[in-house]
Symmetry: C2
């Protein structure tokens, strides 16, 4: 712990999407560790940006409102940084099908643009890129490791994979060091409970908090792996601090995958609500990937990272945080 911690003291760090869910949790931790943090965020509400996410550290981070699609401000912001955590993204699979050009602009165009900024203005910087297990599409075997074929089933997965490849290419050809982590379902304090196109976890947590009925699609037997956000932040920090991982791609994951119904059962332990099983809506069914859980042993071997929080403890902390904050109305389609 202390080695990783010390690594960040005094480091100049840029977090894109730093006012969003994972970015803001990372910002809190980096401030604790003594890093000099600049967060850049477009404040697009539907992507999870919420200034309250920085409550407690607002005086100790430099917040810059800018969109990663804006190559001019990014070209300035990357200068002088030791590390960049590239977390800004459009994360909804459904939205990527409804509005594919926006997904392309944010997840593809902006990542290549960020790399061009670094190549010109700060080629010595190191970048940790938040990718997604969505690049694999429907698993051909489980758990999914990094040699599993890439076969994305939605625009989001295609664009995130292209971005991974840009990072890998700039690492190899231009020497702009980077590492990509393929995140799976992440939950925890500061998660976005408003947008309803980002997958079931946020919807389930909000409905549990509000005592509303949770609708589970397609039987509820689909298995998934869930990472508590503190574990994901640990992984991002471990990646950033570990020279051996640069130039490569790693899965995150959890040793105990759950069915959706088991996840709902865990929610029942910490909240009072009903649930029911309903058929898939057509647009969700079209891009559903069935069971998924990832093999994270490659990342564990490289960094010693492993998830420390199980779903019972993680959901308890998540619900406590959001009860204190107040629960938003949903915007379910």
């Amino acid at each position: 712990m202390s080695l990783v911690t010390d690594f960040y003291a005094g480091r100049k760090v840029l977090i894109t999407g730093g006012v969003g869910f994972i970015g803001s949790n990372l910002a809190h931790r980096l401030v604790e560790r003594g890093a000099e943090v600049v967060v850049v965020d477009s404040m697009l509400r539907q992507y999870g940006a919420r200034l309250e996410n920085l409550d407690g550290i607002a005086e100790r981070v430099d917040v810059n409102f800018s969109d990663v699609r804006d190559a001019h401000s990014l070209g300035y912001l990357v200068q002088g940084k030791d590390l960049i955590f590239s977390l800004a993204g459009q994360v909804s699979h459904i939205d990527s099908m409804r509005d594919p050009m926006t997904d392309l602009e944010i997840n593809c165009h902006s990542q290549l643009s960020l790399l061009e900024c670094c190549r010109r203005e700060n080629p010595g910087v190191k970048i940790v890129f938040a990718s997604t297990r969505q690049v694999y599409g429907r698993p051909r075997y489980l758990p999914v490791d990094e040699v599993h074929p890439v076969d994305p089933v939605d625009v989001n997965g295609i664009n995130k994979f292209a971005a991974e490849r840009y990072y890998s290419l700039y690492d190899k050809i231009h020497g702009v060091r980077s590492v990509s982590l393929r995140l799976t379902n992440t939950y925890g304090p500061r998660m976005d409970l408003v947008s309803d196109t980002k997958g079931f976890v946020g919807i389930f947590v909000r409905r549990a908090l509000r005592g509303e009925t949770i609708r589970v699609y397609g039987g509820g037997e689909q298995r998934r792996d869930f990472n508590y956000v503190d574990d994901v932040v640990d992984a991002l920090l471990a990646a950033g601090a570990n020279d051996a991982v640069y130039g490569d791609v790693f899965n995150l994951g959890h040793p105990k995958p759950l069915t959706l119904l088991e996840f709902v059962e865990a929610l029942h332990e910490v909240a009072d609500f009903e649930h029911e099983i309903v058929p898939f809506p057509p647009d969700a069914k079209a891009i559903d990937i069935g069971d998924y859980y990832g093999d994270f042993s490659k990342f564990q071997a490289a960094t010693s990272w492993r998830p420390r929080v199980d779903v019972a403890a993680g959901l308890r902390q998540t619900l406590e945080y959001h009860r204190r904050l107040g629960v938003p109305d949903g915007s379910e389609a």
Copy 2:
């Protein structure tokens, strides 16, 4: 032959990049076959557009100057078409590294934009997309078949692969039918002999025509497969007419791969010039893929297509055409 020919009589066909090398050859053939052809082209000289390419059919095709990056005109142009040949592209690997954002706009953004136009305005259209063997990167075995891992070594390969996946996704999810052909080195009449960042074939042919010394990089033992443009046009037409190929991806290729030196020897048969072996320039070396030749048996099984022209006959016809037309000055960097 006659079945494929008949299929196109009276068909309404749009060719993007239709004033360029392969697009214009395709336009000639489609006009012969009685199709109603609209070619759309941005007339960017560095991408090979040259109005002389339409000499002989200018009165029988509808030429529309527009850039595939312009979603407004494309949204109109796709209406009422039976088939679209999506050939407009940035094809230089080197340029994709020097100016990656332009490659992304043309090869990635514009393809997704074209698909969105079709989804909205003409979901029943069928599309043949010209992809590239560059998606494979450095071959892990030879000949490369379609299950070979995709591991592109330059921005062009990444973006072309993303585009293939958009096409495949819209075929599966939105029912906009498409097929992708992964082209290899294509040569023939109307090829671009001016741009010098599109690979060695155009440079070699121009220098042979002008009696200038050909510089062969890195020993000349690298093997490649070469398709004469008439064979590529055959393949495009066979793909477009064959319902069984839609939703899939196919290699082109040639049964007789050649080393670069063997290709130069074949040029010596039809032109008078010197050649010398020189080391790789660094930017070309960084993205060189070594030996490549493709296995086209999957496409042959599906359509009976196979290349009919060998390099001796193909180069003779190429040089005859360009001698008649006049040989341009080069722009070698």
